[in-house]
Amino acid sequence: MTRPVQPILRPERTGALVAQDAFGVVAQPLTLWERAWNNGALRKTLLLILLALLWEGYARWVNNPLLVPTFSATLQAFWEGISSGVLPGRTAYSVRVLLMGYSAGIALAALLTACAVSTRIGTDLLETLSSMFNPLPAIALLPLALLWFGLGNPSLMFVMVHSVLWPVALNTHSGFRAVSNTLRMVGQNCGLSGAGYIFRILIPAAFPSILTGLKIGWAFAWRTLIAAELVFGVSSGQGGLGWFIYENKNQLEVPSVFAGLFCVILIGLAVENLVFRNIELRTVRRWGMQT
């Protein structure tokens, strides 16, 4: 017959704590290499250099400058574009149109979201409109925009507003809805209502979502602009980066086509890593709302 196992009765004991200075290592700085590897910017730079080397190697192996120019040829074309002043001019033109479209889109999104948070019919409106128009590529509206507004900036603005408005409004609205009930009650408890409540409680609490919306909106606007410029190119003798790419393709200046694309990428990287990243570090990361 088996008996259930019983715990063995042992004597009690107390421990004598060792003094603080008796420990070997409590905290020791990391080595230089470990700290360098923890730096995200450095890791990404290394990755970019690796990609550039791969490109150079592949282009040399293909050996067809008309199809795949080498990285060095692209860099050279880029440099020539910059020193001749063509590329900066085109870039400035594109960025100006972009900022106009982006800010108009954000303003409209703010208006629509304000309606959505204040009334139920506003919410329905936002949900219906965004589920209708969000899946519609902005470029598909371009033919219509050209009919309505003709060649030129108004058409560009129209398609860009379309591409910015829906992601920004949707993200902002879902951010507002995700604000915790406790925070809302705290706001009311402090006697806040109306605009004070929106600006001092809702917007900061929904900021991670709002920022995501702004980032997506920026990327969509940039894509839409370049694509639209590629389609109808130039207006009033001045074109943007998309037109620069299109023009050089027609002249079979393939390194310059690559240089134009390179410029689009550089601006994208710069905005993401300098502007949005800094906003993120100062706000949502600092507040521990995003890791």
Partner: protein, 269 residues
């Protein structure tokens, strides 16, 4: 009890029935509850889950309107949330994550228009010091432990110097050791200024420790079962404490078996 004329009477809850809607049901949280809180009371609402104690506290906070009866604070009926009834919640996310400890306390003071500028700054610093967080005044909430976050929330509530401080299971999400410590600290703070507090809990020992008066509520819907006097604060007599806790336990749980499967569990806590 002399109600109305007594100068000590602060909060008067009379025949309050509270209901809220879930997706499918209209739930009656409390049915004709009466109680009176006097100045400097540490008044505890105690009861099992579903007795409507949190809902009752929210009604005193002004977030919910009674369908029957009325709640008066200092003679005035309560209609909406306001800074004279500061609330301390159970949830750790009650601090604004985009503000530091000091800014959180100051925010309540300035947003409510109570104080501004230097006066708000000084009042905030004073109450942060009272809860022992001066060294963390410039830290953001996400860097603090749960107990520290609750201390900030208490400091924020007390800094407003409200007529009554409403605490909704403020230590419910803390570990047992921190909870004991926070209870002692709250009593010490009370010793300082003798503020009035309405405290919700479902822990009998906590109710006996914190309260001077305990309202026992029965569940589904919440009704007053008894209103008891607790022990004096810091009473070290374990025997008396045991007797009181056992008595409360018996009163709360004698009909527990019948209750358990009569109705579904409410949403409340």
């Amino acid at each position: 009890m002399s109600a109305g004329d007594g100068s000590g009477l602060l909060l008067d809850v009379r025949g309050v029935t509270l209901q809220y809607k879930t997706r499918e049901h209209l739930v009656t949280a409390t049915y004709r509850v009466d109680f009176q809180v006097h100045r400097a009371d540490r008044f505890v609402l105690l009861g099992p889950s579903g007795c409507g104690k949190s809902t009752l506290l929210k009604a005193v906070g002004g977030y919910l309107t009674p369908v029957e009866g009325e709640i008066r604070l200092g003679g005035e009926a309560i209609r909406r949330p306001g800074p004279d009834r500061m609330m301390v919640f159970q949830e750790f996310d009650q601090l604004l994550p985009w503000k530091t400890v000091k800014q959180n306390v100051r925010f309540a003071l300035t947003a409510s228009g109570l104080l501004s500028g230097r006066a708000a700054e000084e009042r905030a610093a004073h109450y942060i010091d009272k809860v022992g967080l001066t060294t963390f005044a410039d830290s953001f909430p996400h860097t603090l432990s749960g107990g520290m976050k609750q201390r900030v929330a208490i400091a924020r509530g007390m800094a407003m110097e409200p007529a009554i401080l409403l605490m909704d299971e403020p230590f419910g999400a803390l570990d047992a050791l921190t909870r004991r410590k926070m209870q002692e600290e709250l009593l010490q703070l009370w010793e300082d200024t003798h503020f009035t507090v309405l405290f919700v809990t479902h822990s009998i020992p906590e109710a006996v420790t914190i309260g001077n008066r305990i309202l026992l509520l029965s569940p589904h819907p919440g009704q007053v079962k008894a209103e008891l006097n607790s022990l004096p604060p810091g009473d070290g007599n374990p025997a008396a404490r045991k007797v009181l806790e056992d008595r409360i336990h018996r009163m709360l749980f004698t009909d527990q078996v019948e209750d358990a499967y009569v109705r579904p569990r409410g949403r409340d806590s």
